[in-house]
């Protein structure tokens, strides 16, 4: 939970107080199909404020999901409860603030027709434009459409402005990626099989309208939910069945990526990863100049990095928020306070902040410039900056040293190295930042015990409080007995009692170690690796190589008296595929004058 006392710079306070409700008497719900440009029928559910006069025109909040826009409940619950809309903003809050709320099943999913080969396709983006055309042609529409969402729906919101439709006035991509290769599927070039497999399994079952998928993942949903909600006119379920039959031709990312390694490997429809990324659509998103409010957490997969990349690379007016919660803010995730039980702000407070942002963009002057709010862990404070990295930023090197220490001074000795035989049973469990993409809590507990399987380097106690904000860079001079492998680097805090707290981590497959001097596809603050086939090279066993990569962004205060620790692993068995798939490498980390392994900390000096 974000400390409620941390009010200064709290973005949810700065985005405005909760105003009076314009329409306090509830809302109506209906559903229909929209037939779009190529004949595909898109299922939509519409919520309107009750008491809306027939000649009143209102703006619309649009959410486009692949996870069932609404769920039909099982009996007897269906007799007493409205359908569940877990992927849309709260209808009561949105409609009471004077917005229509529309949520759609994107093509190839839910009750919508069509098939899908890859997510975030050009077709899917254009469908959003067709939906907007329909919306603004309705007698109740004032011609303004905004979009928001979390996770997949956050990504559809982020891509929405690419259409450059005059009606699109603002978007709120929550917990959304920028570069799906490095932020979801292949962080550091390492295949994140767990999420990819489960996500594909979930998608396949949802697309075939099979609620059994929830039995293992979300048993309470399995008890409640019968399937995707039919469009209300589809009394005999025939249209739903037609849609599901079309979904049988869908394809899923796990099947596409399991046998692939490189960013430029072809996906089945001939696209490559970059084609379905956000950054590939940067030019058109910028051309729209649609204001963006992007929010996420430091601890959510690679999506925290996406907030920073978006902030640095898009010229659109922008508010960015980085907190300390789980994916979608369903749970608190601050590892310094594992006993916390709820997230602040509440969901209603957040939605009201979002609607205030939309009000500014629809009715007011919008927002100007860019600002990023970020929460510093352990310090429990919100900060804000108009630039990234924040003012006062500099890098500080810490060198690996003897006796498993890490120090400020460069090594002076000509010899010095440590061996580590990779333990393929090492794991961060199934509640880490990657499993969190499934909506699960994030816990990195028992780090003291887990570090016993790893190669660790620990500093002396810090002499003063030190803020680290940004991406730590690891520069390791390593050799290996095998031609392939992975390096995992965990950055941790050690308190006065020796308790270890996870802060952040990074992973990297040395196959991709070549650092390019070319301009990267988007601005980054870490070494540029292309992850392309032609730039890759197997490890030469026994030969020392430089492996330099960025850890996932964070903001943390290392308190006076605390120490920092870097723990090195070669596997994370419950999340990442193992490299190599046979054998047990021994890696050697050099820490001497010629090959001084180090980490670079992004320090923020207070003014």
């Amino acid at each position: 939970m974000t400390d409620p006392k941390a009010i200064e710079n709290n973005p949810f306070k700065e985005l405005g107080e909760i105003p009076e409700k314009k329409y306090p008497n509830g809302y109506t719900v209906d559903s229909t199909y929209i037939t779009i440009r190529d004949g595909v029928k898109i299922a939509i559910t519409l919520c309107f404020p009750k008491g809306l006069a027939s000649d009143t025109k209102i703006p619309t909040v649009l959410t486009q999901t692949r996870y069932w826009r609404a769920m039909e409940l099982r009996i007897p619950f269906r007799w007493i409860l409205d359908s569940m809309v877990p992927n849309a903003p709260n209808p009561e809050v949105v409609t009471s603030r004077g917005y229509a709320l529309i949520y759609t099943d994107v093509r190839g999913t839910g009750a919508s027709d069509g098939t899908r080969i890859v997510p975030f396709s050009e077709e899917e983006i254009k469908d959003g434009s067709d939906v907007v055309d329909w919306i603004i042609s309705q007698p109740w529409s004032d011609g303004n459409v905004v979009s928001k969402g979390i996770s997949y729906t956050g990504i559809t919101a982020q891509l929405f402005p690419k259409n450059n439709h005059h009606a699109i006035k603002a978007v709120i991509p929550g917990h959304a990626c920028w570069d799906p290769y490095t932020e979801i599927a292949f962080p550091g070039g390492c295949f994140e099989y767990a999420f990819m497999q489960l996500w594909s399994f979930l998608g396949k079952n949802l697309d075939l309208n099979n609620p059994k998928v929830f039995r293992q993942i979300r048993p309470e949903a399995w008890l409640l939910v019968k399937g995707v909600e039919r469009v209300s006119s589809d009394k005999d379920l025939k249209l739903l069945q037609i849609a599901i039959n079309q979904h049988k031709s869908n394809q899923y990312v796990y099947d596409h990526t399991l046998s692939r390694d490189f960013r430029d490997d072809n996906l089945p429809d001939g696209t490559i990863f970059d084609d379905i990324s956000i950054f590939a659509r940067k030019e058109k998103i910028e051309k729209s100049n649609v204001p963006i409010l992007a929010w996420c957490s430091w601890l959510d997969s690679g999506f925290g990095d996406a907030i920073i990349k978006r902030f640095m690379n898009l010229s659109n007016p922008q508010i960015a928020i980085l907190g300390d919660w789980s994916h979608g803010a369903g749970y608190p995730a601050n590892q310094f306070f594992p006993e916390r039980t709820f997230v602040t702000p509440t969901p209603k407070d957040k939605v009201n902040a979002w609607i205030n942002f939309f009000d500014k963009c629809v009715y007011g002057d919008g927002i100007q410039g860019k600002i990023i709010y970020y929460y510093t862990l352990a310090e429990e404070k919100w900060k804000k900056s108009e630039v990234w990295p924040p003012k006062g930023h500099s890098y500080q090197k810490w060198y690996f040293s003897e006796n498993y220490s890490i120090i400020r001074e460069e090594p002076k000795e000509n010899i010095g190295s440590d061996d580590y035989k990779v333990n393929f049973r090492a794991t961060t469990g199934r509640n880490n930042r990657w499993w969190a993409l499934l909506g699960l809590p994030i816990t990195y507990y028992n780090r003291n015990k887990i570090d016993e399987k790893l190669l660790c380097y620990t500093s002396q106690p810090f002499e003063s409080d030190t803020e680290i904000t940004g991406q730590i860079i690891a520069c390791l001079y390593i050799s290996s007995t095998h031609e392939d492998g992975t390096i995992f680097a965990y950055f941790e805090d050690v308190d006065e009692n020796g308790k270890v707290t996870y802060i952040t981590d990074g992973e990297f497959r040395p196959l991709h170690r070549k650092i390019l001097t070319d301009e990267p596809p988007y601005k980054i603050l870490i070494p540029y690796h292309s992850y392309k086939k032609d730039d890759s090279a197997p490890i030469i066993p026994g030969e020392i190589m430089e492996v330099k990569f960025g850890l996932h962004a964070t903001s943390v205060l290392i308190k006076k008296g605390h120490r920092i620790k870097i723990a090195i692993a070669g596997a994370d068995k419950d999340t990442f595929i193992r490299y190599p798939n046979e054998g047990r490498p021994t890696i050697t980390i050099s820490r001497n004058k010629e090959f001084p392994s180090y980490i670079e900390l992004p320090i923020i000096k207070k003014e």
Binding site: I80, P211, P219, S232
Partner: protein, 119 residues
């Protein structure tokens, strides 16, 4: 959802009337609250009894659904089958809500015993 859980049992009891005729081996469920759409599909009744009621055998029954009167009529072939389902109906709503509450709280022990229901 959590905020509504304490009221769910009462809401179900207020929304439905369950009556039975032991001489005809019939049970009628009437939804007295006005609902949108169809009351139920026949297979949903079986799923409901198995999922929330603990029914583990296939009991032959005629299921008649009248969407106009919002009623569901279950006709059984014999007294034994009638009594089995009548007994389930006595606590069905409470069981359904209790199972949901437990699952939300992380206790899935009651779900484990549910057979593979063909949805």
């Amino acid at each position: 959802m959590e905020e509504i859980l304490p009221r769910l049992k009462g809401m179900l009891k207020d929304a439905t009337v369950i009556s039975s005729d032991a001489t005809k081996f019939e049970i009628t469920i009437t939804i007295v609250k006005n609902i949108n759409g169809n009351v139920a599909e026949p297979d949903e009744i079986i799923v409901m009894l198995k999922m929330y009621g603990g029914l583990r055998e296939d009991i032959p029954m005629e299921i008649n659904i009248d969407n106009d009167t919002q009623s569901i009529l279950l006709k059984f072939q014999n007294e034994e089958d009638f009594k089995k389902v009548a007994k389930i109906m006595e606590t069905l709503w409470d069981n359904a809500v209790d199972m949901l509450t437990s699952a939300i709280e992380g206790d899935i022990s009651r779900i484990k015993d549910i057979p593979d229901i063909d949805d």
